[in-house]
Amino acid sequence: MKCLIIIPAYNEAENIEKVVDNLISNFPQFDYIIINDGSNDNTKEICREKQYHVLNLPINMGIGGAVQTGYRYARDNEYEAAVQIDGDGQHDVAYLEGMLEVLEKGQADAVIGSRFVDKEGFQSSRLRRVGIRFLSNLGKLLTGVRVKDITSGYRVVNRRFIEIFAEDYPADYPEPEALVIVAVHGGKIVEYPVIMRERENGESSITLKKSIYYMCKVTLAMSIRRLSFGVRRKKK
């Protein structure tokens, strides 16, 4: 299965080398593309120097816009699967074979690398887990599909959803909303147990200060997303 690894990177100069060098030396069977989302550190220079495959966005678009660039690239280069991993080394690529296997057998349209299936490894702070559980319940309420680790950025999708995401992907804080898109399109979501590492350098994109805004925004976005598909789904 021709699979593309999409690595969105915003100011990841400290981590990107380790992540990509690991990919190149240990997982040469996968193609990758770094989306440098208008970083203002020297991410761009590092990528050029090391001759990584990189798309440099001239302006910071936010994670959603960056990842969508990756899906567009995957669509135009005829990839059958695309996986999104964070540029900070949180996600272990070793699980990818297993996740792709689930996809290949046709058991799922989207496979989510989930921290909460086996409850091993870095489990995030308590407050965040409460937030994640709330969004997970909301997702269940809106679509009937339960995804425990709904904010996980480690996810594989097949060709069908590469095409859908290339056209329509949420702009900021996209993870939970993207899963609503998968669910309302009738895609099957499977969670695959992974162990995530705590990020080593830099800060997570969601600070505590922003979390209230995050929760309001994501709750509204998920609800409206569900609403805008409501009538269309009945037509089928």
Binding site: P58, I59, A171, C216, K217, L220, I224, L227, S228
Partner: protein, 123 residues
């Protein structure tokens, strides 16, 4: 106190307001990010209609004589706030477009030079 007829009118108006916003959001003609301020304004207006006591407290606090005037001041404040956010959004977009155009022109130059090099090699 606000007269009850006015409260009903305002109530209907706020419902229309929300329906309109939701309709546009549903049709994906509005970006949620830019609509949040509209939604917040709507919620505050709704609260003021359902709990007019709050409006009275607010109006007293500002030292305005009539409740109705207080309501107008509130509406005006929201309009100004929304206009300000709009201006800020437009300004940010202007900056982004500017950078895009500059990047594009540099890229055009690079491609042109590459093409010329290529032609020289072939010719």
């Amino acid at each position: 106190m606000i007269p009850s007829t006015l409260r009903i009118t305002l109530c209907v108006a706020v419902i229309c307001y929300f329906v309109l916003i939701l309709y546009y959001l549903k049709k994906r003609m509005l970006e949620l990010k830019y609509t949040l301020i509209w939604l917040v304004a709507g919620v505050v207006m709704g609260v003021m209609i359902f709990f007019p006591e709050l409006l009275v407290v607010f109006v007293k606090m500002l030292g305005i004589e009539s409740n109705m005037n207080g309501l107008y001041v509130l509406c005006f404040a929201f309009t100004i706030a929304i206009l300000m956010t709009l201006t800020s959004i437009v300004s940010r977009q202007t900056m982004k477009i500017k950078i895009l155009i500059q990047e594009l022109s540099m890229m055009e130059k690079r491609i042109r030079e590459l093409e010329e090099q290529n032609n020289e090699k072939q010719g």
